[in-house]
Symmetry: C2
Subunit: 208 residues, 2 copies
């Protein structure tokens, strides 16, 4: 049985796919409807207008990324049970850090989808102030998470220093991700650069 709420979710999943394929600018309500197997009217019914779709999709992607980045707190709905993804056994802090940062640089379909959509939304936010709020919030959470991981590797480092390193690493990740997605940097190379950057930053934290 397919409830209305399921349908909403299905539409959002489709939206993420379409955005990953065509970009925010390329998202056509009609194509989205086709992808989700519903009529365009239904989309307007649920999301008011095209902008509404974008806003909701941003939130949706945000949640989903948070889940797979952190290893999915049991707090959230257990939906999407099909793919448990990586076992995520507790790792050494250092490995945990690498995993988190390299997660966005993978050729996994879902990850690529998220990264692409994410990059698009980030880029769109330059011109659409409506998106900034969510974007800033997500960005902050993400930086904080990385700062925490850095802190676990280098417990002696002061919080401020950790935060700065985290900002650099996440900004770098975004830059690399963009280059990868736009095809000017091979994935493996991007990953190597990221790993090296982590090493550089950790060294810096150790010998200030």
């Amino acid at each position: 049985m397919t409830t209305a709420s399921d349908r909403r979710t299905a539409i959002l999943e489709s939206a993420a796919r379409v955005i990953a394929r065509r970009g925010v600018r390329g998202l056509r309500v009609e194509e989205l409807a086709a992808e989700a197997g519903v009529s365009t009217a239904l989309i307007y019914y649920h999301f008011k207008d095209r902008a509404g779709v974008l806003r909701r999709t941003l939130e949706f992607i945000n949640d989903r990324a948070e889940r797979y980045t952190t290893g999915g707190e049991p707090g959230a709905e257990p939906q999407e049970s099909p793919k448990p993804r990586e076992p995520l056994e507790p790792l050494e802090p250092r490995q945990e850090l690498e995993r988190a940062l390299l997660l966005e640089l993978q050729d996994d379909e879902l990850v690529r989808e998220n990264s692409t959509a994410w990059g698009e939304l980030r880029a769109s936010a330059v011109f659409e102030p409506d998106l900034r709020h969510d974007l800033a919030k997500a960005s902050l959470t993400w930086v904080q998470a990385v700062a925490d991981l850095l802190g676990q590797v280098q417990p002696m480092a002061p919080a401020g220093t950790l935060a700065l390193a985290a900002e650099r690493l996440t900004a770098l990740l975004e830059g690399l991700s963009m280059r990868w997605l736009s095809g000017i940097l091979p994935l493996a190379h991007a990953r190597a650069l990221m790993r090296e950057a982590i090493a550089v930053e950790l060294e810096r934290l150790e010998h200030p």
Copy 2:
């Protein structure tokens, strides 16, 4: 007297402005025409179609950035004489490096315009393979320039290492630039992060 070639250039300048204001997705041929003070038909006459405008604008921005990044080789046309911009007296290598990398993080109108348009084109390239070629070329030149500057500061470092550091620094710059332009990172903070990253990389090059 206004030659046809001048007009072409004027249109491209306008295009850069419009892209900076509305984004690539937001560029309307009609608005561009208004901005440049010409008819839409003329734009199609000169650039074939909207995509043509984008391609040419990318090149245009590319050249312009190259000029102000490198301090303007006399090789290029001396056009645009009005603004000599910063005197650009020869600096210490280290300062030269900082200047080059921080140049994109400035609230100068022209720089902001270039950065924004650049970010847009980069983002667009994810979905429009036509743009990738120019993008890759520009990216390469830019990375190479930074690698050279790094080499001037640390002449003992091997070329490969320099290249990697340059890739990280430029990718970071792009990430920071995006965050700045989308309003989630204050300019001053972005600049501070960039400076620190330069310091970290240089240290790394010195004590491998």
